[in-house]
């Protein structure tokens, strides 16, 4: 509601003018309050997800070291984890995938399957020993670094923290990172 300023030429101090102006202001304010209040309550609820942190970034067990090829070829594994989706508590459901490869006998390397450009899942091409994104052809070396400087991806494939626990279990800290920027920033 736009308020009408007093018409030019008339003295603003005229009592009827002033009363009229006050009335208009009051009317606009009350109207705005009556409609604005429920909107405000609704917006508060709508913004609720902003205050919530995303999934946990705890380590999850993905596989065993023995299931990784000895020659260091990356293999894609699904990541299962407990997850809370709004109201539902899920136990051990797929939350994403990860490429694992051996870097030495007992040392795994974990790469995110998500292309940092636009979020497509990359494929591993065994004959070229590199990762290719099927969406916009970003090209990565086996260790995840950019192979082709002309690739649309702003950065290399994201590495994930990985640990070997109890001698054989491969645990990965499964995280998503912000897309389209040169830095690797986890999504909270």
């Amino acid at each position: 509601m736009q308020e009408k300023p007093p018409a030019p030429g008339t003295p603003a101090t005229a009592p009827t003018e002033r009363r009229e102006f006050l009335k208009q202001g009051c009317a606009a304010c009350l109207g705005l309050a009556a409609v604005g209040a429920p909107v405000a309550v609704g917006v508060r609820v709508l913004l609720d997800p902003l205050h919530r942190s995303g999934g946990s970034d705890a380590f999850v067990k993905v596989t065993t070291i023995d299931s990784l090829p000895e020659d260091g070829t990356p293999v894609q594994f699904p990541v299962l984890a407990d997850k809370r989706d709004a109201w539902t508590k899920f136990t051990q459901v797929p939350v994403g995938a990860v490429f694992l490869q051996r870097q030495g006998a007992r040392q795994p390397l974990a790469l995110s399957v998500v292309c940092p450009h636009a979020g497509c899942f990359v494929d591993y091409l065994e004959d070229q020993e590199s990762f290719l994104c099927p969406c916009h052809n970003s090209f990565f070396k086996k260790d995840g670094s950019l192979k082709d400087e002309q690739s649309p991806s702003p950065r290399r494939l994201d590495t994930l923290d990985v640990e070997v626990r109890n001698k054989t279990e491969v645990w990965v800290r499964f995280q998503d990172f912000q897309l389209g920027i040169t830095e690797k920033i986890p999504i909270a």
Binding site: Q24, A37, R44, R84, W87
Partner: protein, 647 residues
């Protein structure tokens, strides 16, 4: 710059001129408070659209997610309870405001030519608003919504000819399920609001066409512009309505700041658990009551034909008003209608307030709702939906299982588990007196007489009186706890109604042993045995005490195999094939109790001496899950939320 953009836009669309024309439309005879009703109808609709839209952003219509998403909105999302509260009360306000608007139109004769169509529009809005309310009730998919919605769906079914088809179509199948929710949501948030918005737009268009004011020409009041004169009144009224609704939402916290926030959300819908307190919204209670007067097969009259006829009379009011006294008739008719609806609604409320079934269902519903809240906070909702939480909860299911399966012989703290004293009709036999019956049924004579106020004198054979069901077995409240066992070892109580009084063990070995051995001199030893035996049960409520009394328990165990000679009849520690009494190893523990209920006539328990108690598992009366729930409940083993309410 801004002005030029607006001018350009106005030139191309005419919106600016239109807005100005609306805002500064002339109001013949000036502003009036009674003109606010139309605006209020629009405002409350807008309020519902706004709050409804935001609720929609968090709602998920399916039988496994509807209740869950609403619960999430209400108790997890910031401000969600306020949003749902406003929508809940706003829905009622819409009907109220519509009725008052209609009333205002009739009283001031605003339905007269040329405004008949405008009157009909307001009339049409009324069933639409009720349809909104009826579809909205099911959406949270709680017990209340589920059972209350069966009535409008049922009424749909009695519609002549197309009824059954219409019903199946509305439900999206033969039973209430996923498609009922998706259909109802599409109606509630799509089609119906669209119809209402269309009618409101048409209403406004006609209003502008016929002029805003309706004062008679001879009124000396000066004209005003709609803005700000009438706008101010309208805006103030809208804000007042909002504040009243806010008051309704906040009132419960002002009364009880510790309550779970939000309007009542019952336990999740369970088609196997009748909710007998399901009622329509208060403004539909009159119809609910009205339908009580129509015997089976004639509901169609009460639900459709008569309301339809009444609607027709109201619709014809603009024409009736043309006759002499026609207007007066209209006012009187509508007034009578409202009064009748008020009286019927009030009757329904009064009948309910005296109805035991209704009240206890209501109370149980509140208990279940609160329990659900605790369970969700503790365990989280499984993918199969929240209803499973309640079905797996000993605290909720235990009493029901007890009442159904155990209470014909046992009591729990004197009642049947659900708080009722089981009663039965007793046919008086020859030689029976008030006293003998009262003694047999373990109740005071005065209580028996109070149950039968119509019988004043002595009883005659074949008289039928009401009496308590005789407790044939022990009272199981606190079974195997120290208090309970102390009573068992009390010579005055062992053959009383709470223990063996109703069983054939009344004069059995245990009873005799207690009377002989539980003397004041041996009180200390008995106490040690009680504590040791009770520790076998590993009750949650005694965990601390059992730990503290480790030394006494050791002495008690020694006494059981030694001086007290429990092992003469019972197995304890090691299996004794010659034992005649129940096994005492793990007595009252979860495993022991489940095995006992499964088959009390097993050689480890009463064997052939078992007195009438059925083998609940072996006879397939209860399944393993039910046995577990019953055992957990009897042992007081269920999730209890922390006292200080810290989440």
């Amino acid at each position: 710059m801004m002005k030029r953009v607006l001018a350009w836009l106005d030139e191309r669309t005419g919106l600016g001129r239109f807005a100005e024309a609306c805002l500064f439309q002339n109001l013949p005879g000036g502003s009036r408070w009674r003109y606010v009703w139309g605006t209020l109808v629009v405002y409350v609709f807008l309020l519902q659209a706004i709050t409804g839209f935001f609720l929609w952003t968090g709602y998920s219509p399916s039988t496994q997610t509807a209740w869950e998403s609403i619960h999430h909105i209400q108790s997890e999302m910031a401000g969600g309870w306020m949003l749902r509260g406003l929508h809940h009360f706003g829905a009622q306000a819409f009907v109220v405001v519509l009725v008052l608007h209609l009333l205002q139109m009739v009283i001031y004769g605003i339905y007269r030519a040329p405004r008949e169509v405008n009157f009909w529009i307001v009339m049409l809005l009324l069933p639409l608003s009720i349809a909104m309310s009826a579809t909205g009730w099911l959406l949270p998919y709680d017990q209340h919504g589920y059972w209350a919605s069966r009535v409008p769906i049922g009424i749909m079914g009695v519609t002549p000819v197309i009824g059954p088809m219409l019903q199946k179509f509305a439900m999206g199948g033969s039973t209430v399920g996923h498609h009922t929710l998706t259909h109802f949501l599409a109606l509630h948030a799509g089609l119906l609001p669209l119809c209402i918005a269309g009618l409101l737009g048409f209403h406004y268009y006609l209003n502008r066409k016929h002029g805003l004011g309706d004062v008679s020409k001879d009124c000396a009041c000066p004209d005003e512009k709609y803005f700000p004169a009438q706008f101010l009144k309208d805006a103030a009224a809208c804000l007042a309505v909002f504040l009243v609704l806010l008051g309704f939402v906040l009132f419960p916290y002002w009364q009880n700041p510790t309550a779970v926030p939000g309007v009542h959300l019952g336990a999740p819908a369970d088609p196997s658990e009748q909710y007998s307190a399901a009622r329509p919204e208060w403004f539909m209670l009159f119809l609910f009551q009205f339908l009580k007067y129509f015997p089976g097969g004639t509901e169609v009259w009460g639900a459709i034909v008569i309301p339809g006829l009444v609607g027709a009379v109201v619709a014809l009011m603009p024409f009736v008003a043309q006759w002499r006294h026609g207007h007066r008739f209209n006012v009187l008719f509508l007034g009578t209608l409202l009064a009748a609806a008020g009286i019927l609604g009030r009757m329904a409320a009064v009948e309910d307030s005296k109805d035991e079934t209704y009240l206890s269902a209501k109370e149980q519903s509140h208990r279940n709702a609160e329990r659900m809240h605790q369970l969700v906070a503790e365990r989280g909702i499984p993918p199969s939906g929240a209803a499973a939480l309640l079905r797996d909860d000993a605290y909720t299911q235990g009493p029901k299982l007890f009442a159904k399966n155990c209470a014909s012989c046992h009591r729990f703290d004197g009642h049947d588990g659900l708080g009722h004293k089981p009663l039965t009709t007793h046919t008086v036999r020859t030689n029976e007196t008030w006293e003998s019956i009262a003694e047999f049924r373990f109740m005071p004579v005065t209580a028996l007489r109070e149950l039968n106020p119509s019988f004043t004198g002595p009883l005659k054979p074949e008289d039928k009186i009401i009496a308590q069901v005789r407790p044939w077995g022990p009272d199981l409240k606190g079974f195997a706890s120290r208090e309970w066992l102390a009573g068992l070892f009390d010579p005055a109580r062992v053959d009383g109604q709470h223990y063996f009084g109703g069983t054939k063990f009344k004069d059995g070995k245990m009873s005799k042993w207690v009377k002989k051995n539980a003397t004041p001199e041996k009180a200390d030893d008995i106490k040690k045995v009680v504590i040791a035996l009770s520790a076998e049960a590993r009750l949650k409520s005694q965990a601390v005490a059992d730990k503290a009394d480790a030394e006494i328990i050791k002495q008690g165990r020694a006494l059981m195999v030694g001086d007290m000679a429990c092992t003469d009849c019972h197995s304890f520690g090691k299996k004794d094939p010659d034992a005649t009494g129940p096994e005492l190893t793990g007595y009252g523990s979860r495993a022991w109790l489940i095995r006992f209920i499964s088959n009390p006539a097993h050689a480890d328990f009463y064997g052939k001496r078992n007195d009438r108690m059925p083998a609940f598992a072996d006879k397939k009366i209860l399944d393993a899950k039910q046995l577990g729930l019953l055992a957990d409940w009897l042992r007081g083993d269920w999730y209890v939320p922390p006292k200080n309410g810290a989440k």
